[in-house]
Symmetry: C2
Subunit: 370 residues, 2 copies
């Protein structure tokens, strides 16, 4: 995948740098594990320090000192999950900041403008995110929401093209080569997914994402939705599955045609002491590791596994040292990026099915720790 800040080998996993930094890591930590692209959150950056301030600094790359590709989300997901007193109407999402209660309105145009000012390499359209439908009228709710997302996508695309055409008062375009991805919705209903994909592709975005999954539905439902949706998206463009998932989800989604992933799982779990290993997940807080001199994962080549024992990591976690988060996050992200690296290699050498089986056999083992 080519962007104005360089090439990304796909399938790729994007570490989440919510507020312009991956929690507990420095950029050189990220570079050391081979991260090629970062995801950053429009909602958080819009509130603090503000997209105006970032645009005045020359855009997000310059502001945070990260010279490689950046994808920004639309801010919608955080508005739906984090903001206070939100109401959605055709215009957009009205909400109050979770920080100071100030009132805001996020429209498809506004989400496009903010991301233009941030100057990410890839901007996402504002979509409506539904929880996994559990109600009898779930299908009708999903259809209406999917159709609103299509109308919003049209507005977002129009705004994006207007910004590309020429100056729009009050908006600094920080990255003239920004791409915009459309998002397929439709909940767990294959026909809605297909309709959403068809109409979104008709609008002619640079590429496409699948949204509204990993929101509580069973894994096999998610896989089925991915399998039904991915073939409706152009084969010559990256397909991005938003907010997913476990290592098993990644390999299964690649098998179904996905090229791009993001998820807070490796970073958030790291801060809680949960480590992904080739033998399953372990929680380093567990007393059984107090005198365990082995590295977290004996097959891992990351800095943490090369230099730290489980006993030391457990000690750091138990006494509350911040660098426990750093060391755990380094390992988990390395595990994710390395899994994608192995997947890419297997695809190149036409061994993907073998790797898929091998990964499942190790990943599906009962975790050691709850």
């Amino acid at each position: 995948m080519r962007t104005t800040h360089g090439v990304v080998e796909t399938p790729a996993f994007m570490p989440v740098g919510t507020q312009g930094a991956v929690k507990a890591l420095t950029h050189r930590d990220l570079e050391s594990i081979g991260a090629e692209i970062l995801l950053s959150n429009t909602y958080h950056l819009y509130l603090r320090p503000g997209d105006d301030l970032i645009a005045r600094r020359g855009g997000l790359h310059a502001f945070i000192g990260w010279p490689r590709p950046i994808l920004t989300d639309s801010g919608g997901y955080q508005v739906f999950s984090l903001a206070a007193r939100r109401t959605i109407d055709e215009q957009g999402a009205h909400f109050r900041s979770h920080l100071d209660g100030s009132a805001h309105l996020l429209t498809p145009e506004k989400a496009t403008d903010i991301q233009a000012q941030l100057g990410s390499d890839i901007a996402m359209v504002l979509d409506e995110c539904l929880a996994h439908p559990a109600t009898p009228d779930g299908r009708e709710v999903a259809r209406a929401s999917m159709q609103r997302t299509l109308r919003w996508a049209r507005r977002a695309r129009d705004r994006f093209l207007a910004l590309r055409e020429g100056p729009v008062p009050g908006v600094i375009v920080s990255n003239a080569g920004q791409a915009q991805f459309g998002i397929v919705q439709g909940s767990v209903f294959p026909d809605l997914r297909e309709e959403s994909a068809r109409q979104t592709v008709e609008m002619g975005f640079e590429a496409y994402a699948i949204g509204g999954l990993s929101v509580g539905e069973p894994a096999d439902v998610m896989y089925e939705m991915v399998a039904r949706t991915a073939p409706c998206l152009p084969g010559d463009r990256p397909r991005y599955l938003m907010g997913t998932g476990t290592p098993a989800d990644l390999v299964e989604s690649v098998a179904r045609g996905i090229d791009l992933f993001d998820c807070v799982l490796p970073t958030r779990n790291a801060r809680n002491g949960q480590l992904f290993t080739s033998e399953g997940r372990i929680n380093i807080r567990n007393a059984r590791y107090a005198e365990d001199d082995r590295p977290p994962d004996e097959h891992c080549t990351c800095y943490t596994c090369r230099t730290c024992s489980r006993a030391y990591l457990r000690h750091l976690h138990v006494v509350g040292e911040m660098n426990a988060s750093t060391l755990n996050t380094l390992h988990n992200l390395h595990f994710y990026l390395d899994t994608l690296r192995r997947i890419r290699e297997a695809i190149t050498f036409r061994r993907f099915d073998g790797l898929r089986l091998a990964l499942h056999q190790s990943l599906s083992r009962q975790p050691h720790d709850s």
Copy 2:
């Protein structure tokens, strides 16, 4: 200074790794700024994870994965400053853990045993730490305390030599080449300091430290005590000024014969957003830095200054990202280590007086921020 884990160029500053890690840094961060020796706190490691556990792992170097020199304090200072319900008698310090209230007794022998099990390169004797005397009978209190410290030093040395002689039941000697430093006390009274130095040197430690300063006395009193004490210590051994200080304190103490320093100032202040720079101290939280694209210190070559603007660091600090602590700590420790590097170079080329003046001129500038 030669140790069993390598050579340390002096004068040297030791970053404080209280619980076996410098707060917010990984060991490779420390290596990247040229740290040659680490200080670790016996009190904390004794309580968690315990010196027995560390001895079973092969000692502190093996446990934390730091192959270079380590100095451990005796634990006394933390007992005096941190522990609950402590009482001191001739035997030692009775106290309760600040973590779980459990009862403990730290004697000169016990402090020696714990450090033998930790296997640091340099162990410190247990001394009694007094606050800066403000009472009319301060001199008599200081004399009695200094004399108790001498009796404790004798016991600590006897224990150390016994451990060196042969096996002592219940104590694993993790580092056969460990050195033990005596500590000069005597508060702010030059004659007590001189007497303490003379009698401590008579006991024949590998080297000597000056304790009980930086405890609230004016800087000129501290400098005077250092000036009176350092000449009483052997010129062919490192002289260690414990718990000091500001960059100005370091250069003034080197001028008076000090070779070794430790202090939490650069690391603790970093976590509060205060940065040491060649133009004075700045607090990165200050609103004036919100749109300041300059690095923290335009003359600094550290990773933070090479890659981060004040605006970005302020953002990270304000939103509460952990890596703000990492980036600030990297800078402050680099500033300290670089200051010592410049001092060593100036001494080598007989330009120390010029550097001392230049450092004072820049360091004594009014800080930008409160």
